[in-house]
Symmetry: C2
Subunit: 329 residues, 2 copies
């Protein structure tokens, strides 16, 4: 694979090259990993998209929202990528966004690019690959990258670590159900959007919005927010109402943060975080070679049988690993 | 330090040598770590104590229970060690059991050994050190090792990974408060002990015991339990009532598991687990040398400033780390 050529095609915005590159970063093969790393290094960090994290439990109309919101942006001439971090894919290999027919109009839009969640064995692996896919989308010149997730906290945390803005999508609900949103997720949100503010649910949506606006006012003020943020608002993705207002709010917030230094500081902290996570993952990847796996299994068996003491067995294993790396390097 | 001599003294049951050895395993210094590892290797895995994990939130009378329970065992000629895993020590450096006056009679008992939780920066570090301290207590010929914790789930999980039996200590409570115990912790328990079954609280304690007995019956049957387990019972640590019955139950359960192969299987699985955790910790410890810290900080700064791309910076760092290890090794 010609990495320099692939980088050029990505920088020119070729969707097929981008799709192939994302497949490369998602691969677990060592040679693919080396190529993916080379590609990321070649592309560098010059271009920036607006990265929007988006969380919502099943049933809030997330696909409809992304389709309507994405189409509004592409109609305005913007290029929009949609990626996903699916915590369940770490277990089952299944993925949200796997079925592009959920957003079939956006999927056919030449200015949009939709990619399902990578399936990896750990949420950490899913997250690291998605962060790299975001970097590829930025290098490909996308203006907006939406990073979708659905989870119970952990996946929101990792998506927030790769997003400039975090949007929490909710459905209209009675007062008691307000408790269903974990405080930690509320605290991450820059914008809470109550979807389905249409038909019979409209009045409930307005009440829900008021409830969350009240709840947001009770949270501790964050330095990175101007007055009036985080905000709660209503939209109807189905009827295309409220979407321009949501976009305006996101842009206003982004502009304020850029002007006040929070934007750069957040990006710098995130870059540090992913660098350090990637270092740790690379160190632990030494355990994944066939030789290391075999040695680990043999010693693990001796430890289980009580013929080896665990701590000193671990020392011996790590020393042997260092020596074999030195010989092969 | 003469490790062979220290090992001999520990095997002879010398408490001062044991205390010094635990200080050694708790140390973060690389030379101490090497000595501690050598010591653990020398002592091997021959002797076994009954390891009892013990969890209870503040206010359930945990110290009083450990003191009364421990004294009952030492009066019966048994040697008892008490260790602790304190999740808060990972943050604050503070520790439960730090104040031995909480159990002053047991602390003065020549057949008892009490040791506070190590203070480390990660719960994982606290847990690994405590697991090694348990191994030292076993090598020193203790019959029973009590591993105390207080937490909200995570510390119970690590204590369960180094215990043969897990005892959950609770206070008498009304029906509504039953919900306060997380399901995951309930599922870990082999024995639920309602303390303070004395005075005004006696009737409440009996009702609480019945509630938990009912709740335990609703849990999924575990292969490692004979009929009637896990059990809920009442004790009064203050009035020394119910403690022999609790001990009998623990012994009955332990005997059944030994006879049916679950004892060995659990120990084997735990040994594997700690071996693998120690391997991972040893790999990540490569980041803790002064040189590695300095290199990591410099690259992290370049990544934060956007002059380096995170994934390829991580690759370069790990490659350099491997080379410097090869040269120094």
């Amino acid at each position: 694979m010609d990495i320099a050529d692939m980088a050029k095609r990505i920088a020119a915005g070729e969707r097929r090259a981008l799709a192939r590159a994302i497949t490369l970063v998602e691969s677990g093969r060592a040679d693919h990993r080396a190529q993916a790393t080379e590609l990321l290094a070649t592309l560098g960090t010059g271009r920036e998209a607006l990265r929007i994290g988006l969380s919502g439990t099943p049933g809030v109309g997330k696909s409809t929202f992304i389709e309507s919101f994405g189409k509004m942006l592409t109609a305005d001439g913007k290029r929009v990528a949609v990626l996903a971090v699916d915590p369940s894919s770490a277990r089952s290999g299944g993925s949200i966004l796997g079925d592009k027919t959920r957003m079939d109009e956006l999927a056919r839009d030449p200015n949009a690019f939709i990619r399902p969640s990578p399936s990896q064995t750990h949420l950490g692996g899913v997250a690291r690959r998605t962060r790299e896919a975001v970097a590829l989308c930025e290098a490909a010149g996308f203006d907006v990258v939406l990073i979708e997730t659905v989870g119970v906290g952990q996946s929101e945390t990792v998506v927030a670590q790769m997003s400039d803005l975090f949007l929490l999508l909710l459905a209209p609900a009675g007062g008691d159900e307000l408790q269903g949103v974990k405080r930690g997720i509320m605290e991450m949100a820059d914008l809470i959007v109550i979807n389905k503010a249409d038909g019979d649910l409209k009045a409930t949506a307005v009440r829900t919005q008021a409830d969350y606006a009240g709840a947001l006012r009770l949270l501790r003020k964050r330095a990175q927010d101007p007055d009036g943020y985080p905000r709660a608002m209503t939209v109807s993705a189905l009827e295309n109402r409220g979407l321009p207002e949501a976009w305006d709010a996101l842009q206003e917030l982004a502009g304020w943060r850029r002007a006040h230094g929070f934007w750069e500081a957040t990006r710098a902290g995130q870059a540090r975080y992913w660098f350090e996570e990637t270092v740790k993952a690379a160190l632990l990847a030494q355990l994944e070679t066939p030789q290391a796996r075999a040695d680990l299994a043999a010693l693990s068996q001796a430890v289980a049988e009580g013929t080896r003491e665990p701590t000193s067995a671990a020392r011996d294993f790590v020393q042997a690993l260092g020596k074999s790396a030195a010989q092969s390097g």
